[in-house]
């Protein structure tokens, strides 16, 4: 089945220790998104890639970076995690940007910062 895969499902890191989260997709979608979701809150868009074009949200901290080496993979790098970065990180994909293309989400990575 075509899907969005996130690894690892659970990640524990120490305060200030860089961490990378991974997302891959077999849907062959052009757009990949990263969201942050804290407990009982709405998912918050961090950035997205439209093909190789990177689009950062204005309020995304510089501590968060992303890479998309090819169509299938996208990475979220947190350079110096703080306690406030503990959250569920969700990857999503869509066929294209604009219109009403549905975003399909992966299972998420739960990040704990000690």
């Amino acid at each position: 089945d075509a899907m969005v895969i996130q690894n690892p499902r659970y990640q524990v890191t120490q305060f200030g220790k860089p961490v990378t989260l991974s997302c891959s997709q077999t849907l062959n979608h052009n757009v990949m998104y990263w969201y942050q979701q804290k407990s009982s809150q709405a998912p918050k868009l961090l950035f997205h890639y439209y093909d190789k074009d990177f689009n950062n949200e204005a309020d995304t901290p510089d501590n968060f970076q992303s890479r998309r080496p090819n169509t299938s993979f996208c990475f979220l790098d947190i350079r110096s995690p703080g306690l406030g970065d503990a959250a569920m990180y969700l990857c999503a994909t869509s066929v294209s940007r604009g219109g009403t293309d549905t975003q399909y989400f992966g299972p998420g990575t739960r990040l704990t910062v000690l």
């Binding site: 969005v4 996130q6 009982s40 809150q41 709405a42 998912p43 868009l45 439209y50 569920m88 969700l90 990857c91 999503a92 869509s94 940007r97 604009g98 219109g99 009403t100 293309d101 549905t102 975003q103 399909y104 989400f105 992966g106 299972p107 998420g108 739960r110």
Partner: protein, 112 residues
């Protein structure tokens, strides 16, 4: 400013007790309204897209409706497996691309 508000925040139902969830939105123009289901510790699962007032969509015990200011998700004769958080999200017309504005969700618990 675009806003999406979901109510109630939490809903506890007995199995078989039908109810409705509300998603009210304030946008300059609506391109689409999306409903997702999210189980604890998992990513959102797509349910429906609604485009225009008066539109309705159904899937098993779920029925979504749309007016000019709000959407309702009706759960008919719910079962324990319908327990989840239901998220509503809108795409607004002025946006140059299909950015989703999410509500905080309604957490539904269905007890046997």
């Amino acid at each position: 400013e675009d806003q999406v508000t979901q109510s109630p925040e939490a809903l506890r139902l007995q199995e078989g007790e039908s109810s409705s969830l509300n998603c009210s939105y304030t946008v300059s123009g609506l391109r689409g309204l999306f409903w997702y289901r999210q189980d604890p510790g998992k990513g959102p699962e797509f349910l429906f897209t609604l485009y225009s007032a008066g539109e309705e969509k159904e899937k098993e015990r779920l029925k979504a409706t749309l007016t000019k200011k709000e959407s309702f998700l009706h759960i008919t004769a719910p079962k324990p497996e319908d327990s989840a958080t239901y998220l509503c999200a809108v795409q607004a017309v002025p946006d140059s691309w299909g950015k989703l504005q999410f509500g905080a969700g309604t957490q539904v618990v269905v007890t046997p």
